[in-house]
C-alpha cells in the first residue's frame, strides 16, 4: 500500500523538477530552491525508500560461500543490532583494529561472515538506471533505522580521534592540476559555485549537521540513492583528482572529520536532494 502511494505522489511531484531552469533574480532563485527542497522533503514521496525496501531484503538474504544472511553482522552495537548504529558511524571496531564507516563494515561482514566475493558488489557500488547497488540499498535501509535520532560522533577511541585529524588535514590538502582542497569551496560562509550555495565545512555547527544528518540521500538529478562515499567521489572528480578507491581509509577519515563537526545532527535519512 505505502509503496503504491509513494509512486503515486512521485508522479505528481516530478513535473516540479524543472523549476531551476527559470531565470530569476538570485534571491528569488534561492527562495525557490528552498521551497523546492521543502516540497520534496517528504518521506512518502522519496524514492530513496524503494532503496530502503530493497536493502531490507538484502540484509536477510542468505548468500556467499557460507550461505548466511547479514543478520548477525555487528555494525557497532552488537550482533545484528540496526537501531541507531548509523547515528554513530564511522567508529572503531576492535575485531579489525580499524575505524570503519558503514560501507567498509558491510564489506567486512560480506567477506568474513558470508564468505561473499564482493567483486560484483563493489563493481555495482554506485547504481545507475536499470542497475541497482546493493551497497546503496543496504546503507539506505540501515541508515533509516536511525531516522529521527541524534547523530553522536564516536570519538572516544584514540584511533577515532586520529582519524578525524587525518580527515581534517585532508580537508585542507591541496593537489592536482587545479590546486584545490576541500576547503577551497567549503572553507567559508555563504560562498557559491555559479548559483550553487556551498556548505561551510570548516567549523562545527548546523551546516555540518545538515550534511551529516542527510546522507544517504535520494538524488533527484541522478535518479539514484547516494551515500557519502559517492558524494566524496564526486567532490574528488570536480577537484580534478583521480577517483578515490571505494571504502578507502581516506574517505573514512574525511567522513570522521565531518562527523566531528556535525555531532548532534538529527538523522533524516534517506533524505531527498536535488
Amino acid at each position: 500500500m505505502s509503496k503504491l502511494l509513494r509512486i503515486f505522489v512521485l508522479c505528481l511531484l516530478f513535473p516540479a523538477a524543472s523549476l531551476r531552469a527559470q531565470p530569476a533574480p538570485e534571491l528569488d532563485l534561492d527562495k525557490e530552491l528552498d521551497r523546492y527542497r521543502a516540497m520534496i522533503n517528504d518521506p512518502m514521496a522519496n524514492p530513496g525508500y524503494l532503496a530502503v525496501d530493497r536493502g531490507e531484503l538484502l540484509w536477510s538474504l542468505s548468500r556467499g560461500s557460507k550461505n548466511v544472511s547479514l543478520e548477525t553482522c555487528d555494525l557497532g552495537a552488537g550482533s545484528g543490532v540496526l537501531d541507531g548504529v548509523a547515528a554513530g558511524l564511522p567508529r572503531y571496531f576492535a575485531d579489525t583494529d580499524q575505524v570503519m564507516d558503514l560501507e567498509q563494515r558491510l564489506l567486512h561482514c560480506m567477506r568474513g561472515l558470508q564468505g561473499l566475493d564482493t567483486k560484483d558488489v563493489v563493481a555495482r557500488r554506485f547504481g545507475s538506471p536499470g542497475k541497482t547497488s546493493d551497497m546503496e540499498d543496504l546503507v539506505a535501509f540501515i541508515s533509516n533505522k536511525s531516522l529521527g535520532m541524534k547523530y553522536q560522533a564516536s570519538l572516544s577511541h584514540p584511533k577515532e580521534r586520529d582519524m578525524a585529524l587525518i580527515g581534517e588535514a585532508m580537508f585542507y590538502r591541496r593537489s592536482a592540476i587545479n590546486d584545490f582542497s576541500c576547503a577551497t569551496c567549503h572553507g567559508d560562509d555563504g560562498r557559491r559555485i555559479r548559483l550553487q550555495s556551498l556548505p561551510d565545512l570548516s567549523k562545527p555547527g548546523d551546516t555540518a549537521r545538515e550534511v551529516i544528518g542527510t546522507w544517504p540521500a535520494y538524488r533527484v538529478s541522478q535518479s539514484q540513492t547516494r551515500t557519502m562515499q559517492h558524494r566524496l567521489w564526486d567532490c574528488f572528480r570536480q577537484m580534478r583528482m583521480p577517483a578515490p578507491d571505494y571504502a578507502s581509509e581516506g574517505l573514512t577519515a574525511l567522513t570522521m572529520y565531518l562527523a566531528k563537526l556535525g555531532d548532534g545532527a538529527t538523522m533524516n535519512v534517506p533524505s531527498i536532494k536535488r
Partner: protein, 204 residues
Amino acid sequence: MSTLRGILLLTLLLAQPAFAQTPDPARVEAVVAASFASAPEAWKARVSQDRMQQICSLTRNQPDAAQAAEIASTAKASVVMPPDAALKGDWRSGEKIAQNGQGGQFSDGPNTISGGNCYACHQMALSEISYGTLGPSLSGYGKLRNFTTEAIRAAYTKVFNPHVTLACSSMPRFGLNKVLSGQQISDVVAYLFDPASPVNAEFK
C-alpha cells in the same frame, strides 16, 4: 599519584608542537596515497604535491614571510609571457573559455578541451547572473585599470600563475599546469581588457 599524573600531563603539554591538532604529515600522505592506490598511473601525479601545495596545505593558505617569498619567486620564474602584442587575444573566444567548466575530470572524454570556468568563482559580465563568489568580482576589470599594458601583463601573469602576486592564492595555476594554452589565456585576458567585451562595456 596525582602529582605524578600532573607532571606527566605537564610534560605532555610541553611536548606538543605548535599545531597540537596536526597529525604527522607522513601519516596523512600515506592515507592519501592508499586511498588512490587504484588510480591509473597517468593520474597518480595529481595525488602527490609540489612545494607550493605542501606549504599552502600545512599552513592552511597562511604561509609565513619566508614561505610566501619562496612560493612567489618560484611562481615568477615559471611564467612564460608572450610579447606585449600577443597578450590580448579574442574576447569572444575568451568568453567561451570563461563559461566552459569542462576538462580535467576523470569523467571527461580523452579529447575534452578544458575551459577556464572563470564564472564558477567570479562575477564578470553583469548580464551573466550565474556566477560564483569564491573569488572577487571581475566586472569592469579592464575599465577599472584604465586598460594599461602593465595591468594586462599582470592579469596574464595572474591567470598563468596567481602565486606570483599572492602566495597561496586559491586560484588554479592555469598556465603552469597547462589547463589553458597560452592562446586561451590571451583570449581570457581579452575578455577582461577589451573595451568591447561585456566585462567592460556593461560596466558603468
